[in-house]
């Protein structure tokens, strides 16, 4: 685990089965501060594609948190204007309509918050150890979601940024 760099935001990272509270997480990022001018948020939800009854998310306890923290620290390094960032990723059985992942970024001006929020969700898709299994309402056998080339491409675009 890398040491905190002075002046750089320290990310908050959690992997949990329980739901998260967007408003409470946003309030925590700005509490006691008057230097935050922009707060960007992304919430990923479970969609009911193709008769989906639920997604079951498996993770690698320990490594998953480390991998997310590393991605979040990379975001704080690339956008030094960030005053804070929060990533909460759920695991377990999640039904359509329920939130899966929360990314929050705060900075003095909007650009750093918006750009780093997009960077974080793109990298979480390809760099955080989670595996999704789809369960269906009509009794079809459950199947593992395959990695998508579009997600790799979305993450790779940041390599040139």
């Amino acid at each position: 685990m890398s040491a905190a760099t002075p002046g750089r935001a320290v990310p908050t990272v959690r992997v949990q089965e329980a739901p998260f509270d967007l408003a409470a997480e946003a309030a925590a990022l700005t509490a006691g501060r008057v230097d935050v001018g922009g707060l960007a948020s992304f919430v990923g939800l479970c969609r009911a594609d193709d008769g989906l009854a639920a997604l079951v998310l498996e993770h690698y306890p320990g490594m998953t948190e480390r991998a997310i923290r590393r991605i979040a620290e990379e975001a704080c390094a690339r956008w030094p204007a960030l005053t804070g960032c929060t990533v909460v990723h759920r695991h377990g059985r999640l039904e359509p309509g329920t939130p899966i992942v929360l990314v929050l970024t705060a900075s003095s001006h909007r650009a750093a918050a918006l750009e780093s929020c997009a960077f974080l969700i793109d990298w979480l898709k390809t760099g955080a150890p989670f595996w999704k299994r789809e369960e269906f309402a009509d009794g079809r056998p459950a199947r593992w979601v395959e990695a998508r080339a579009e997600d790799d491409a979305a993450a790779a675009r940041w390599a040139d940024a």
Binding site: G44, L57, E58, H59, Y60, G62, M63, R66, A67, H89, I100, V101, I121, L124, K125, T126, G127, A128, P129, F130, W131, K132, R133, W144, V145, E146, A147, R148, D151
Partner: protein, 83 residues
């Protein structure tokens, strides 16, 4: 050496984790995969799709040529699908 399996790799192998003592000739991730594939039909079925399997050594993503040794925690899993 502690081996962990996730997602369909775990389902095919049939266990989530196991302790193994590979022969001294096994010194990298690729060699470990080849050796694990000989441990039983479930292992063989999982590692038959070796190109689809990713690895981590001590909770860091690893390449086929990365070293492995006694005391390491090595995990095998499909490409990740988070977010």
């Amino acid at each position: 050496m502690r081996i962990l399996y996730f997602a369909w790799v775990r389902q095919r192998v049939g266990v989530a984790e196991e302790e193994v003592a590979p022969p001294a000739a096994v010194h990298d991730v690729a060699g470990l995969m080849a050796w694990l594939a000989t441990r039983g039909p479930g292992h063989a079925a999982a590692f038959a799709e070796g190109r689809q399997i990713r690895a981590a050594v001590n909770q860091e993503f690893a390449a086929p040529g990365d070293p492995v040794g006694a005391g390491d925690e090595v995990a095998f899993f499909p490409p990740v699908t988070g977010g």
